[in-house]
Subunit: 455 residues, 2 copies
């Protein structure tokens, strides 16, 4: 290993390891920019994912590069920081050491202070068999998979003669009416009604059925009621069917089964299903709990002290979606602020200053419904419709990482929102639309496992 993880000779070599470079990890790393520390960022992927715009990758508006810049490029000017690709699989809290894997090769990294920011994964509430038929929207791969399913469904429908099967191919079910579910349902409705015009000869994409299900009685439960009502109205105008108080009891390749009293809803034949219903802590959470004796909540998140550290381990911080503290929601803003808090606490300690507890400042939340429409809370302000959308636009551009990505994203949004374009619709053999017998030999993956690359 060549990372700067030498011995600790004074604070200048205090080694901070940050695991995971989502919003929590990235903002922690940035806040340590001028700190008297050596920072190592370890992530399973090579990119920082701007998750709030993942739904736009999944629906053909943005490219993967626009929402997933390379971590090392984002942090390239930060001389005290090294970025390493690796999957942290274990924690030895006594030896202050992490077990890491990169393409099958095993290595170790030592820390003086650790920031764990590995976030959350999709939860199927114990029904993991739903995952194959209804992917969630958490990673770049999820989004590319969902994108190829959505646009692939239209391809199949165009050459389907049986009206019933065609109806199934053109029925999209989104499970979960939080921000992700609302955004996906809104975008699918919008792309089929606006973007695919003139693209088909046999089907009319405007007849797509988009079904949004939620077990609770609310859409956007975390928002004020007035905005919930507006969201329901706006989705209705887009043609999204909303069914609340409906639990999903089964999902398979053919469709969705629900707890509804309405026989028409008990079985919904549908090719493309999207799961946006729940999250659980990332797997490293459990390893961390076992290594430190920390308690976890029902979602597997680590219960931390009010300074974001693990009880009994002031040298281990947990930030972002993996952190259970004061019932804070799993949103980007909490991750950013807790990441910055951890970084500042480390700097304060090394400089002998008094520590402070973490105080979350709720700056509000937002969800887009369609182009030019969003619901937004900003402090006491409530915005919806076009004003909400402008606020959404401004905030997302401000937080997007890097000037180049902002320019590229503005260009793509102009194409998509002012024009009709969904330019990023290419279906690859890797993502979707590959079935064993239907593809000639050369479309099969050609890369051997001996390389360590995908098999």
């Amino acid at each position: 290993m060549t990372s700067p993880t030498g011995t600790t000779d004074g604070t200048a070599h205090h080694r901070v390891v940050i695991v995971g470079c989502g919003f929590g990890g990235l903002f922690a790393a940035r806040a340590l920019r001028r700190g008297p520390v050596q920072v190592t960022v370890v992530d399973r992927t090579n990119h920082h994912l701007f998750q709030p715009l993942l739904y736009q990758l999944a629906t053909g508006i943005l490219s993967s590069g626009e929402i997933a810049p390379p971590i090392r490029d984002v942090l390239r000017r930060q001389r005290n920081t090294q970025v390493l690709l690796g999957d942290v699989t274990g924690i030895d809290a006594d030896r202050r050491s992490l077990a890491v894997q990169t393409l099958g090769s095993q290595w170790e990294i030592e820390y003086d202070t650790l920031i764990v920011a590995t976030g959350a994964a999709q939860s199927y509430f114990g029904r993991d068999e739903f995952a194959a038929a209804a992917p969630g929207l958490k990673t770049l791969d999820d989004a590319l998979e969902i994108r190829s399913r959505i646009f692939g469904a239209f391809e199949l429908a165009e050459r389907e003669a049986d009206p019933e099967e065609r109806r199934r191919l053109m029925t999209f079910v989104v499970v979960g009416a939080g921000p992700t579910g609302v955004e996906m349902a809104g975008q699918i409705a919008e792309l089929s009604r606006r973007s695919l015009g003139h693209n088909f000869r046999s089907i009319d994409p405007r007849q797509v059925r988009v079904v949004l299900l939620d077990g609770s009685q609310q859409v956007l439960a975390s928002f004020p009621e007035s905005l919930q009502r507006r969201a329901v109205k706006a989705l209705g105008r887009l043609g999204v069917e909303i069914h609340l108080g409906v639990r999903v009891t089964g999902i398979d390749a053919h469709g969705v089964e629900t707890s509804s009293d309405d026989p028409a809803l008990q079985t919904v034949p549908s090719l493309v299903k999207i799961w946006a219903a729940g999250v659980q802590a990332s797997p490293l959470g459990q390893a961390l709990a076992e290594a430190t004796g920390a308690a976890v909540d029902r979602a597997g998140r680590i219960k931390v002290r009010d300074d974001c550290t693990v009880p009994g381990h002031p040298e281990i911080f947990v930030v972002g979606d993996l952190m259970a503290l004061d019932e804070l929601p799993g949103v980007a803003e909490v991750a950013m602020q807790s990441g910055i808090h951890a970084a500042r606490t480390i700097t304060r300690r090394l400089r002998g200053k008094a520590e402070k507890p973490f105080r979350y400042r709720d700056l509000g939340s937002m969800a887009t419904i369609s182009r030019f429409r969003a619901v937004v809370t900003l402090g006491r302000l409530r915005l919806s419709g076009f004003m909400g959308w402008l606020a959404w636009l401004f905030v997302h551009l401000a937080f997007l990482t890097g000037f180049k990505n902002r320019v590229a994203t503005i260009a793509s949004w102009t194409v998509a929102f002012v024009g009709h374009g969904r330019p990023e619709r290419a279906i690859t053999a890797h993502q979707g639309l590959r079935s064993a017998p239907a593809q000639p030999a050369e479309a099969a993956p050609r890369v051997g496992p001996e390389l360590g690359w995908r098999e």
Copy 2:
């Protein structure tokens, strides 16, 4: 099947089926826009691939959407044309019918006139076992795979302690010094020397070794000698090592073995190898030859008459890279012109006009070496350096499909050529960097074969 393939009641319902929508198929379809025909375009993918820019996708400059617009979107205004996703697996020339597969379901499509434009695939000259270690650059998947290998190699090198292994990780071998090989070698040299600055702490990407091998004694053999010399010089300045008259005798995960007399070249340890050495006809060529009795050349291309039709089958045209005629090269310009010729011949026939043989007008050829440098022949003109690059820029923008893609591509080129950016570098789990033991469960593909999607 719901495609407009009903009975032939007069020329207005003359059914033209175009198989494959590369340059040959697309230009044929477009030239039939006002023809008295019903056109059906069948392609294995949903996109038209702008292959001459594939190397820019593979090296992080462009996104897949920028070079691969959806076929049905490109042809959306062409009311007499339907686009269907399917893999043509068989031809019945007597019944004038094609066997097609879409995700495992089998269907048929009938034609009155057929245009086969399925192009060429990579050829390993009988050494198909090279493919796993050294992918070619023919499809979107190829480019994404190569992209993740290139950027993944730097990730691995950054945390490699062993200097010899690090050297292997930072050695890139490109086999074949035609335009694709030259462009890939030039881009890898340029991205490591320009774009990755400040990105690493342990390695210096400028020390990357790029090795360009060719069995012949020439770089860019199809170009005039003066331009060949300039290309060699420009590649040398970029730091590309060129070895000519060297045959590759073995490629595996570890590296490349060659026929060279120089012991240092007999074994070149290298993680990332790219094959740009040969092409062979796409698999449909053989089915077509068997169905029609047509002769094929050594690369499996169909020998056609001077009007691009199959001997004895005036209703079957073969255009583009699958066509063997007058030793025409397998370049985009031949595909476009032969596609247009087939379309015009069909229109002439239906209107009772005299047919004409295909006359190829060689408008020249071009290859980029690096930003601001290209070699170009345009008629009798020979350009190199910046003037060549301007010509390259102009021609590629002119031929890129769609206004939106041109605007997006200009933006990306500005970022890459004026700035330093390689914004499209995201490595997904599907493309590269996935090894069975190193990845936690949720990174595994979640989609079941029961869906017909990728397993």
